[in-house]
């Protein structure tokens, strides 16, 4: 479907939905509704946005809902979505910010029965670099019995904070027998940890690793040591026995990493890429090679 057509249809659906609400429709109502909230909660967000009605009572009611562990889980999740939308309203939500953080910390707790809600609370808190959330997430990585969320989620949330000092425990995880998604999450987090550079070099060169993990390692190495990345990437691209998908990925990354003046300065490598562009069996690899050659020609 054409994107303009899609957008038009979406706007029409949204308009229709908002018109069904009591009172005049507002942009905030529309946004809240689009975010998956009920008309009632969309109205709360709209009232907060416009400064009309008793916003304090509205937020208080929503906080009561998310705190109530015996309430229907879907209502609690919906209330949390409404609060999270409202938290972007700035001045009108600011009086309730402290209560909101406090409620989130209550949910981010082992006694919280709704896993999804607990996970959402931890995600929101970790985006604010909340120390309580960080401690909970790190404790879960140290001791799986204490984990409140899956390790892959814990890694994703901890990666929001470079200053969380999570790297030492995550570095140790990389060599443990963990599933691929968790390992990929660990590598994403370590991409801002200079000490982890040797891990990325090692994994990128290790043919026993999956293409996804090696590509993830290429990304990490490119961020932490572009020179080392260039050196290993050139070896991989030049090696016909290497995984062609990985060759395509690292060649594309190399094209975008090399400073403009250095693209094409290595004539031996340029010749190799030229050959790859015409002979490689994989279309993606040929395409990456053509991209590199275009960059050489446009210098």
């Amino acid at each position: 479907m054409d994107v303009r057509e899609y957008r038009k249809r979406f706007e029409a659906e949204l308009d229709g939905a908002v018109r069904e609400l009591d009172g005049p429709s507002t942009t905030a109502q529309g946004h809240a509704f689009a975010a998956g909230q009920s008309p009632r909660h969309a109205r709360v967000v709209a009232r907060l946005s416009s400064g009309q009605g008793d916003a304090g009572a509205d937020v208080g009611a929503l906080l009561d809902v998310i705190r109530n562990r015996t309430a229907d889980p879907s209502s609690r999740r919906e209330a949390l979505r409404a609060l999270q939308s409202a938290s972007f309203l700035g001045p009108s939500f600011a009086p309730h910010q402290a209560d909101y953080f406090s409620a989130l910390r209550e949910i981010a707790n082992s006694e919280e029965p709704d896993y999804e809600l607990r996970e959402q609370a931890l995600e929101i808190l970790s985006l604010s670099q909340d120390p309580t959330a960080r401690d909970i997430l790190l404790a879960g990585l140290h001791d799986p019995k204490a984990a409140l969320v899956a390790p892959v989620k814990a890694l994703q949330f901890l990666a929001n904070d470079d200053h969380a000092s999570a790297a030492p425990i995550v570095r140790a995880m990389v060599d443990q027998d963990i599933d691929e998604a968790t390992k990929a999450g660990a590598l994403r987090l370590l991409a801002s940890d200079p000490v982890s550079e040797p891990i990325f070099s090692r994994l990128l060169e290790d043919r026993s690793q999956s293409c996804q993990l090696r590509a993830q390692s290429a990304t990490g190495l490119r961020l932490l040591n572009p020179d080392k990345f260039e050196q290993i990437a050139k070896q991989i691209v030049s090696d016909d026995t290497e995984d062609p998908d990985l060759r395509a990925i690292v060649l594309s990354a190399l094209t975008h990493t090399l400073p403009r003046e250095r693209v094409g300065s290595d004539s031996k490598f340029t010749d190799t890429v030229q050959k790859v562009a015409s002979t490689a069996p994989l279309q993606e690899l040929r395409s990456s090679a053509h991209g590199f050659m275009r960059a050489v020609r446009s210098k």
Binding site: P95, Q97, A98, P131, S165, A166
Partner: protein, 377 residues
């Protein structure tokens, strides 16, 4: 003994807070508490920023009971001027209540500034090690409480607090509005000029220590600039007066590193307007050289208005930063991956490499730095 192993002597966070509790309860312990404030103190080594903030806030809050010595005031001032974390700001506000007359002039305006800065991110704070009082007070409420404690000495805050009251329903909670109302009432009991008799002058924005020759200590250190050029520190800094400051690109506090480099860009313009650009060098060292590679430095500087040439550079040490840190006694601490906390520092060196001015723990203005720079030529 390494810094990390010294830190491990302090133990985990709970052990550290317990030891601070012991100091809190010991008469005359304020000087020992002050020793725990520098960012480079072993107590902070190898900890996350969150832990470093928790310890620092706990120490600062202790001054409410232990009494606030003058040596702690620069730390308090810097926190109130640049802090963005509710916990440490509330702690600084509590520390101020341990002070005695004369109250420094900067205190009242910085307290009100701090409210403005964190009103969108207010949070509950507790300075009880076991968290017993969690939920009883927020950071903004603690700051307002300190303004109320100042009473007539907070005359300067009356108008700004009244403006906040007029915006009732927006930004602050009803509990905080009630506190502000009471505070204004307390201030209004006294005539508008009541507080002026008991205030000392503004503290000097920069200390001017006796000239200390530092260049020989760092002359041989190899540095790399934003374009990848490698040179020795001595090669760059010798022969011209220099402005040297410190930052890192991953700093999360917009009032620190990002602002420092932005002001450095403005200083460059002032230096050029004063036609001093051929007599002065301007450099900023990253605290985080392993991460801040040349391209990152360049993008960070350009985005903040810096113009690079042979006399104006952002620098990273090619090896460990420890020697530079030791030479300038920099207030910076490290976690396992990056900086966990740092203070603001700007140093003016003369052509021989002697320190002529040191702006530490203050949000320096480029005009003040230019003035000090001219004095060092």
């Amino acid at each position: 003994m390494t810094e990390a192993s010294t830190a491990s002597l302090w133990g985990g966070l709970d052990d550290v807070l317990r030891q601070i509790d012991v100091l809190r309860q010991t008469t005359g312990s304020a000087p020992q508490l002050v020793e725990l404030l520098p960012e480079q103190a072993p107590i902070y080594a190898d900890r996350s920023s969150g832990e470093a903030d928790r310890i620092r806030g706990y120490v600062l809050a202790s001054f409410e009971e232990a009494g606030l010595p003058s040596e702690a005031e620069p730390y308090l001032r810097e926190e109130l001027e640049t802090g963005v974390r509710p916990y440490t700001l509330a702690a600084a506000a509590k520390a101020a209540r341990g002070g005695c007359d004369p109250i420094p002039l900067w205190l009242t305006p910085l307290l009100v500034d701090a409210i403005e800065r964190i009103k969108f991110a207010d949070d509950f704070v507790s300075f009880d090690r076991n968290g017993a009082s969690v939920g009883s007070t927020t950071a903004v409420a603690e700051i307002v409480r300190t303004i109320a404690w100042l009473g007539p000495r907070a005359q300067g805050a009356r108008e700004r607090l009244s403006t906040m009251l007029r915006r009732e329903g927006c930004c602050l909670s009803s509990a905080v509005y009630a506190e502000i109302e009471k505070t204004i009432a307390a201030i209004t009991l006294f005539p508008p000029d009541f507080g002026s008799c008991c205030s000392p002058g503004e503290p000097v924005a920069s200390e001017a220590p006796a000239a200390r020759l530092v260049l020989p200590d760092i002359a041989a250190i190899k540095v790399q600039d934003q374009d990848g050029t490698i040179l020795a520190c001595g090669e760059f800094l010798h022969g011209s007066a220099s402005v040297v400051t410190f930052f890192y690109t991953r700093c999360m506090n917009p009032n620190k590193c990002s602002l420092t480099i932005t002001k450095l860009g403005r200083l460059q313009q002032l230096v050029r307007q004063a036609e001093l650009h051929l007599r002065v060098k301007i450099a900023a060292f990253t605290y985080d050289p392993a991460f801040d590679l040349p391209r990152r430095l360049k993008a960070y500087g350009i985005d903040r208005g810096m113009i690079f040439d042979e006399r104006n550079r952002l620098l990273r040490t090619t090896a460990d930063f420890a020697e530079v840190r030791a030479c300038f006694d920099l207030g910076v601490g490290y976690g396992s991956s990056t900086v966990n906390r740092h203070r603001l520092e700007l140093i003016i060196l003369d052509a021989d490499g002697c320190i002529r001015s040191h702006f530490a723990q203050v949000n320096w203005s480029e005009h003040d730095v230019l003035k000090a720079l001219i004095g060092s030529l």
